[in-house]
């Protein structure tokens, strides 16, 4: 693989850009691999990358029913933060945030990580108490956050209306080292690095069955034939339940549609990420100038990747209240992704009832920010067969034991 650099740009500029290589290969599947990863989204590719980088396992296939990064990796609102209340969550999200800081260098691929700061608005007294508690917990966890007053909110983000009629801004939980990254580039960067290590990325290849022998996984049936494996990792977000059903077990998870939308591009007007959980809308401005807006989830199980119109209406209504200037913007695109939500709103990184099959899912509405940390922890689980310290608390057995990592109360819906 030729490295991307300033010199590469100069070299190619001098020869009409004829020398750029394909970023990754698209091979036909082999008969068998050491590890087959189902799902070439951010989490699947990151798992593959750290399997190779941290454990030297490179006989790996990553299979994907659509195109890589075309699921939730390409559909989220690109927010990166780690201001979680519970210790296991803060640990894995902070690991991920830290890895994002050096990801462009590690992958030799510009993921445009922009630590511009994330603020979560407190618009009720209860939220003030909740966020002060989170800030205190974060201090113990080594995650740098602070609770700031409304004047500071206005200073950091002048387009916010802090004295709205319904929910005035009373303060915010501010994480200065949070931010955004280019979501597609994260998938592309990992894919390029994985392909360079000799891993096979097989797109347009849907899994139709999981083959087992004596309670142990032996491979997957796909639309491109049977692919054997010693270990199988299911990292398929909203389709986790579907994969589990094919392997003969059920999960404590439900799939729902989560929506987002972007406005027409405008001049820079906002250089932080703002989340307003009480009125439920969040917004940031992309480098292209579009306002990127996140909405809510549907209240029923759904695999349609569309979402209900009334949620868009509610989100935009909330944003107009908080950011009056939004009322004059035209919205360009709206889309949905299927997220898998667990009972405690925390992910599952775990062994499964089927031997040598592992699952990473349940990230719900908060998957993008965790991609590198999730891949790091999942690679360790797959390589060793037992979870490491990051993944240990996220086992499937926690639901039976009543050992929840309850972020549904701590983080609410805007995860």
């Amino acid at each position: 693989m030729k490295r991307y650099s300033m010199f590469a740009i100069a070299r190619e500029a001098a020869r009409y850009h004829q020398g750029w290589e394909k970023a990754w290969a698209s091979p036909a599947p082999k008969k068998k691999y050491d590890v087959v990863i189902v799902g070439a989204g951010g989490h699947g590719l990151a798992t593959a990358f750290y399997l190779g980088k941290n454990f030297g396992i490179t006989n790996v296939a990553i299979i994907e029913k659509g195109w890589l990064g075309g699921g939730n990796t390409g559909r989220n609102t690109t927010i990166i933060r780690s201001n979680y209340l519970q210790d296991p969550s803060a640990a894995i999200y902070e690991k991920a945030r830290g890895l994002y800081e050096t990801m462009s260098q590690d992958l030799n691929y510009n993921v445009m990580f922009s630590p511009r700061g994330v603020m979560m608005l407190a618009q009720t007294e209860a939220e003030i108490r909740g966020y002060k508690r989170t800030a205190q917990a974060n201090a113990y966890q080594g995650v740098t956050t602070e609770f700031i007053g409304p004047e500071k909110v206005k200073e950091l983000c002048p387009i916010i209306r802090i004295d709205g009629p319904r929910y005035p801004v009373l303060g915010a939980l501010w994480q200065e080292r949070g931010g955004t990254a280019r979501h597609d580039a994260v998938a592309w960067g990992y894919a390029r690095a994985c392909s360079d290590m000799g891993m096979d990325i097989i797109q347009q290849c849907e899994v139709t069955g999981v083959t087992r022998e004596g309670g142990k996984v032996t491979g997957v049936e796909t639309t491109k034939g049977h692919i054997g494996c010693n270990k199988l990792a299911s990292i398929v977000a909203g389709n986790s339940g579907h994969m589990a059903n094919m392997a003969g077990f059920e999960l404590p998870m439900e799939s729902v549609a989560l929506q987002a939308l972007v406005s027409e591009p405008i001049k820079p007007c906002m250089d932080v990420v703002v989340m307003a959980n009480t009125v439920h809308g969040y917004m940031s401005q992309s480098d292209k100038g579009e306002m990127v807006i996140g909405g809510g989830t549907d209240a029923f199980n759904n695999y349609t990747q569309r979402g209900s119109f009334h949620h868009i209406e509610e989100t935009v209504r909330a944003l107009i209240e908080t950011f009056p200037m939004v009322s004059r913007l035209k919205m360009l695109r709206q889309w949905g992704g299927i997220v898998d939500v667990t009972g405690d709103r925390s992910p599952i990184i775990s062994k499964t009832p089927v031997d040598n099959m592992f699952i990473n899912g349940g990230w719900g509405t908060g998957g993008f920010k965790s991609i590198p940390g999730s891949g790091w922890a999942m690679a360790e689980l797959v390589a060793k067969g037992e979870p490491g310290p990051l993944a240990a608390e996220f086992g499937l057995d926690r639901f039976r034991q009543g050992r929840f990592i309850d972020e549904s109360v701590a983080a609410g819906v805007a995860h």
Partner: protein, 107 residues
């Protein structure tokens, strides 16, 4: 957009009139049940990609609970029926089979 017919009051409405209540026909467990039974009842869900049986409440209407058989991939509603049932009635299963011949009732 999801359109549902309330079997209790007969009114047809779109989804903002209703409130989803999750998987239908859950077997409930009480005191003296095992941890596995509680886990299944409280958390484990079929979450099928396709035909799903679920609970709905006509929140902005008659206020009553009912059940619906719906496809989670297309939002097509096969039938809505009374909540006073332990399993989908035969006519509901027939209505699903008429449109999804390959579908089998999960165990």
């Amino acid at each position: 957009m999801l359109i549902l017919d309330c079997p209790c009051c007969g009114v047809r409405g779109e989804e903002t009139e209703f409130h989803g209540g999750g998987e239908a026909h859950l077997k409930r467990f009480g005191p003296d049940s095992s941890d596995a039974e509680f886990e299944g009842y409280l958390f484990t869900r079929q979450n099928p990609k396709g035909v799903n049986f679920e609970r709905w409440r006509h929140a902005n209407g008659c206020g009553k609970w009912f059940h619906a058989a719906r496809c989670t991939m297309t939002l097509e509603v096969f039938a809505t029926y009374s909540a006073q049932t332990y399993e989908p009635p035969a006519d509901v299963i027939a209505a699903i089979k008429a449109k999804r011949p390959e579908w089998e009732m999960p165990a």
